[in-house]
């Protein structure tokens, strides 16, 4: 197949390697080295998309990441990635691309009716047109607008790729590899500094790759790039990262780079990540981001076939593609003239060079004359013709009066425009630097450095090949010196040609058309016209930040790199205030659109968060246990047998635990070893309870408050020796309790001789609970007398379990005789399997967290975080018994003295029994005094725990109810959608109120 717009020769594409690709199903050819954009242009395709709001036909405008129009979807592995810029998509064999935002087809798009109805959609139309009736917004306006607008469609399947991450450190990070970036990287690297050079493009070299009218050290610019890269590549201290965008500049010279690894490969190895996030900490950053060309704002400046002049030149010189056969060049600056000359040299007919300036530089005029190119000075384009491709342009002659007179019509199939150049200050702006206005250059340029960075070359408004090279070398040397203190003098390359481009314009061009009827686009992607900006000013938006949000100009994926300066000029004209008074919006991260996958990184699937397992895990899996997530832990929820549902399994487990024996994995409970001469004193200050008199070998329940006096954690604490305590915490509270203890030790009581060590994972813990618990553990325990006399409830001893050292606690969270055995984690599996086998002999059962919850609720034991919510005091919870009355102080003591915490009307912990024993309350349900309270009535409290109790053969519930303890015996209500449920207020202990079962 022919590529009618491919040049005979030249360009950096590999003409020997032909690639086949499709666009909207149509098969085409391109070459290795093409981007999708250059390949489409080689095939004569300019129309690549429809605009966001008016659905106008749009073509490729640029050759870089700032491309606003050519957004395409790429199909791969049965799904598509939307909104990729065709200018950045590298061609590979079999690439499948589709256009976006069109229905039913790119050529005929129903949405284009919006273009004709555009008077209905002025700037801010959301805020005006759809104000009334209010209810229409949700049901009519928003769905319709959403369906009509928008860009690509999101992918439907889970991302089939994975994403890498790498932290890196360097002395000098150079972002951008044009002449100044390459020079900076080389100068820095030669000092021995560690250098990372990244560039968003596939090839390093930037503008040098499309420059063929200059030379560096007598070489073609591209050859000089190759030589320089070879030098850099040979150095161990240099990391070269092509296809890598420096997209975020954060605090302390932390810069995020997005490296695209497989997108350009036809059949990438599945072991390669699609992209890699580089999180770089650079001592110094050199920003060599270059500059981008500004579009000219003239009516119908958005037709396919209208491109930036430099893009046209890049397609020609770098990709060997002619953007048209008859090209009109419209400009206000010198650089576009070179594009015209290059076109002419490749046999492209140049219809004319139209320069806004009355007297363009004489040397350019001479060159044009030599090539026989028609030049129109003091002339602008006032409109274009052609629907899906530009076919002619209207010219206007500038008069001294400021008016424009018609200058006739010029036929063309492509139009190259240049309004001058805008330095790319995005990264500098992200580094929190404030740009300053340079009147001579007509541009905002980087001001003072806020972080350790420097801009170089065109990104600071410096143009001309020789000047940018020199500046790049200096930037690299200075950056290396600042980073490492080392310097080295290298020979600078010198350039000839590539002189700085003068001229440029800002804002909308004058024209002789009916201003209310024409559209001159400022922001292509968001369909914002010059008219819209003026309208915003008329409607009271006087700050650029307001204008931006009202019109959406500058809110496209290029963040206004193409549009901001023109919009600013238009606004400043409409406001009649200097441009600098209107201000520039801030550039933010990311520099270009960045995939969610890159940010998510490895945090997906099994690696979303650490999955922490206990030593019983494998046994539980083999025995059909069901897990629940408790923080990062997998805990066994229940063990269904013979097809039981959860309710049946839990009922059975509860029954067996109370009648015989149950085995429970308590390994996840937090454990902290508190050691030192002041250990008891420390616990005395942390917990509400007294500890100094606790005898060695005994345990006590501990309640932990925050400074405000609210319960934050609890657990059993055993005294192993005079200066050694084994503290347990809740599973979820383990890290925070440890951190708070350490905080107090370091900041409040550094004088105490006590230290804490987390032993959560040192020990595996098996809880054996039930009347047969002693018989179950007895065969395996040595060195401990298990009798009730020697080992009463709430004691701890050290001995061995199956020969390995253990800490044996006699404690109970079930109300039954209970033991918790701690062995070192390595032996946890052995302990669990030994006990699991042993309980079978006693018809016992392993049980999970749900049964644990039911058993403790039957006894009225609170679960911190379920029955408490961070606003519950010990008094509220009915646990004043846990407060050491004689203690001078403990964390939260002063908080508890607050009048509001002692006042009447606090919620209090109570039991609730439904009149109908079969009705189970919803946890979280409100409790009221009236059976059917009027809307707006405050609740008296809420249900915190609710279960079916096998031991009582009825439902039970725990609740926090205002003044609840005084309401015992009274009837309250739990209003539900199906009707109000009457409940009797009771005490919190439902089972074995005397506690006889625990002390056997």
């Amino acid at each position: 197949m022919s590529q009618p717009f491919r040049t005979e020769k030249g360009g950096r594409i590999d003409r020997n390697e032909q690639l086949t690709f499709t666009f909207d199903g149509e098969q085409m050819q391109g070459h290795k080295g093409d981007t999708l954009a250059s390949a489409l242009l080689a095939n004569g395709v300019h129309l690549v998309g429809r605009s966001f709001k008016y659905h106008r036909p749009r073509g490729i405008i640029s050759s870089g990441s700032e491309e606003p129009n050519a957004l395409v979807g790429i199909y791969r592995n049965g799904d598509q990635t939307p909104n990729l810029r065709a200018t950045q998509v590298e061609l590979y064999q079999g690439l499948e691309a589709i256009s976006q935002n069109r229905f039913p087809s790119l050529g005929f798009d129903i949405g284009a009716i919006n273009d004709l109805m555009s008077p209905l959609f002025p700037a801010g139309f959301y805020y005006k047109t759809f104000m009334w009736p209010k209810s229409f917004w949700d049901r009519v306006y928003e769905p319709v607008i959403r369906a009509a607008a928008g860009l690509g469609k999101p992918p439907k399947k889970p991302d089939h790729d994975f994403y890498g991450n790498l932290y890196a450190h360097c002395d000098v990070l150079v972002a951008g590899s044009g002449p100044s970036g390459l020079a900076a990287a080389l100068a820095a690297a030669e000092t021995g500094a560690k250098v990372i050079l990244c560039d968003e493009q596939a090839e390093f070299g930037g503008s040098l790759l499309s420059e063929n009218s200059a030379s560096v050290d007598g070489k073609e610019p591209a050859d000089w790039v190759a030589v320089t890269l070879a030098r850099l590549g040979a150095m161990d201290n240099v990391t070269l990262l092509p296809r890598t965008t420096a997209f975020g500049y954060f605090a302390h010279n932390y810069v995020a780079l997005a490296e695209r690894i497989t997108d350009h490969i036809a059949n990438p190895d599945p072991k390669l990540p699609r992209e890699r996030l580089w999180q770089v900490r650079a001592k110094e950053v050199v920003i060599a981001a270059g500059a981008i060309e500004r579009p000219l704002v003239f009516p119908e400046n958005d037709r396919p076939g209208i491109l930036l002049a430099d893009a046209g030149r890049t397609y020609l010189n770098r990709y060997g593609v002619k953007v048209g056969h008859k090209v009109l060049v419209a400009t206000a600056s010198d650089s576009a003239w070179q594009a015209a000359f290059d076109m002419a040299d490749h046999g492209v007919e140049v219809a004319a060079i139209v320069d806004l300036r009355e007297t363009p530089p004489k040397n350019l005029m001479a060159i044009a004359e030599a090539r026989g190119i028609r030049v129109e000075a003091g002339c602008v384009v006032t409109g274009t013709l052609g629907r899906k491709r530009v076919k002619a342009a209207l010219l206007g002659r500038l008069m001294t009066s400021g008016q424009v007179a018609s200058g006739g019509q010029v036929e063309c199939d492509a139009l190259l425009m240049s309004g001058g150049w805008t330095p790319t200050v995005s990264l500098y702006s992200q580094s929190r630097g404030k740009v300053v206005w340079d009147g001579d250059k007509g541009a905002f340029v980087p001001g003072k450095s806020v972080q350790h960075e420097r801009s170089t070359g065109a990104s600071k408004g410096l143009y001309g090949l020789q000047a940018t090279l020199e500046d790049g070398y200096a930037a690299g040397e200075n950056a290396a010196k600042a980073a490492t203190g080392k310097s080295a003098k290298i020979a600078y390359s010198t350039a000839t040609g590539g002189e700085a481009s003068n001229g440029g314009t800002l804002g909308a061009l004058p024209h002789d058309r009916n201003a209310s009827r024409v559209k001159a686009f400022v922001d292509y992607q968001n369909d914002v016209t010059a008219k819209d900006v003026k309208l915003a000013v008329r409607e009271g938006m006087h700050s650029i930040e307001h204008i931006k949000r009202y019109t959406t100009t500058g809110m496209a994926t290029d963040q206004g790199r193409l549009s901001n300066m023109n919009a600013l000029k238009i606004a400043s004209g409409a406001l009649d205030r200097p441009l600098t008074d209107v201000g520039l919006t801030t550039f933010r991260q990311p520099f270009t659109p960045t995939t969610f996958g890159l940010f998510a990184g490895v945090s997906r699937g099994d690696f979303f968060d650490p999955v922490r397992k206990t030593p019983s895990h494998d046994w539980v899996v083999e025995n059909g246990g069901v897990f629940e997530d408790v923080g990062q832990w997998k805990r066994t929820w229940y063990f269904p047998k013979n097809g039981e549902d959860m309710h049946a399994a839990v009922a059975r487990e509860c029954k067996i635990a109370r009648e015989s024996v149950g085995l429970f994995d308590a390994s996840t409970l937090g454990k902290i070893e508190v050691v030192g001469p002041d250990a008891a004193e420390f616990l005395e200050r942390m917990y509400t309870n007294p500890w100094k008199k606790l005898a060695t070998g005994r345990c006590r329940y501990g309640l932990l408050l925050n400074d405000a006096g609210f319960i934050t954690d609890d657990g059993v604490i055993g005294r192993l020796a005079e200066g050694r305590f084994h503290v347990t915490t809740t599973t979820g509270g383990a890290p925070s309790v440890f951190a708070r203890m350490e905080d107090y030790l370091q900041t409040e009581w550094p004088d105490l001789d006590v230290w804490i060590t987390s032993t959560t994972e040192q020990y595996a813990v098996a809880a054996v609970q039930g009347p047969k618990a002693r018989e179950v553990i007895a065969p395996f325990i040595e060195g401990i007398d298990l009798s009730a006399e020697n080992l009463p409830h709430m004691s701890v001893r050290e001995g061995t379990f199956c020969g390995v050292p253990c800490r044996l606690f006699r404690i109970s969270f079930t109300g039954e005789l209970g033991f918790e055995i701690n062995v070192s984690r390595r032996h946890g599996k052995m302990m669990w399997e030994t006990l699991a086998k042993e309980i079978e002999k006693h018809s016992g059962t392993a049980y999970g967290t749900e049964t644990m919850h039911v058993l403790r609720a039957e006894k009225g034991y609170i679960i911190v975080g379920q029955d408490t919510d961070g606003t519950v005091t010990p008094q509220d919870a009915g646990m004043t018994w846990a407060i050491g009355k004689k203690k001078l102080d403990f964390v939260g003591k002063r908080g508890l003295e607050r009048p509001d915490l002692k006042a009447d009307g606090r919620p209090q912990f109570v039991g609730l029994l439904t009149t109908d024993p079969k009705v189970k309350l919803e946890e979280g349900a409100q409790v009221t005094v009236a059976e059917n309270p009027a809307t707006g009535t405050s609740a008296e409290g809420h249900v915190t725990s609710s279960y079916y109790s096998p031991a009582l053969d009825r439902t039970i519930a725990l609740a926090m109810v205002k003044n609840g303890q005084a309401l015992e015996g009274k009837t309250l209500y739990v209003p539900m959608p199906e009707g109000s449920i009457p409940v009797e207020v009771t005490g919190t202990v439902f089972y074995d109120k005397e506690g006889a079962r625990i002390n056997v």
Binding site: H169, S603, F607, W755, T759, S824
Partner: protein
């Protein structure tokens, strides 16, 4: 020196197959060890070091090794003492006896964590897929040890050779750590 003595102490677990075995980097599970957490005041360091068999480093992030012993600096008053598995009880008793009434805390944390040995020319690259520390040899010389995080897991990293690192994590985090290391290394298999 440090390299040799550490390799004497931290040895691959003979019963385990390598978690990763590539030409550029490998991951081996280390055999069980005695790990004791010692907290003490400056005045006790000499005695503690004597009883343990290796001096306690006082400079941040340093490790001191001697035959079958390593003392790792974890904080201004915190050390992790490493020794062969079978020495646990004897060492615990010896240090306790030596320190006697001197204020200190000695806690057995042998089983709290597991160690892996990450080695090879790509070892530091692999660790940097999840650890933000600069592992260049100038910034993190052989013998440096620190607590840090690997993605979302707390870990301890000890450089025992130019291309060898011992990475410890609490046992329940180890699957996460090794799983991600192996996943991140797979691109090295691509020629």
């Amino acid at each position: 020196m440090s390299e040799l003595l550490a390799n004497d102490l931290i040895t691959p677990d003979a019963g385990e197959s390598p978690l990763l075995s590539l030409s550029e980097v490998s991951i081996l599970k280390a055999a069980p060890l005695t790990r004791l957490s010692l907290r003490a005041r400056d005045a006790s360091l000499k005695d503690a070091g004597k009883a343990f068999g290796a001096a306690l480093p006082v400079n941040p992030l340093l490790a001191e090794t001697s035959k079958k012993r390593a003392a790792l600096w974890m904080g201004p008053d915190e050390w992790t003492l490493l020794a062969p598995e079978e020495d646990c009880q004897a060492l615990f008793t010896a240090i306790e006896e030596k320190l006697g009434d001197q204020p200190h805390s000695l806690v057995d944390i042998s089983d709290r964590s597991e160690a892996i040995i990450v080695s090879g020319e790509k070892a530091s690259w692999l660790l940097n897929t999840g650890i933000f520390i600069d592992f260049s040899i100038e910034s993190f010389p052989v013998g440096t040890v620190t607590r840090t995080v690997f993605h979302k897991s707390p870990v301890m990293v000890w450089r025992t050779g130019t291309d060898t690192f011992v990475v410890e994590a609490w046992v329940s985090f180890m699957e996460y750590v090794t799983g991600l290391l192996v996943q991140s290394a797979q691109e090295l298999e691509v020629a």
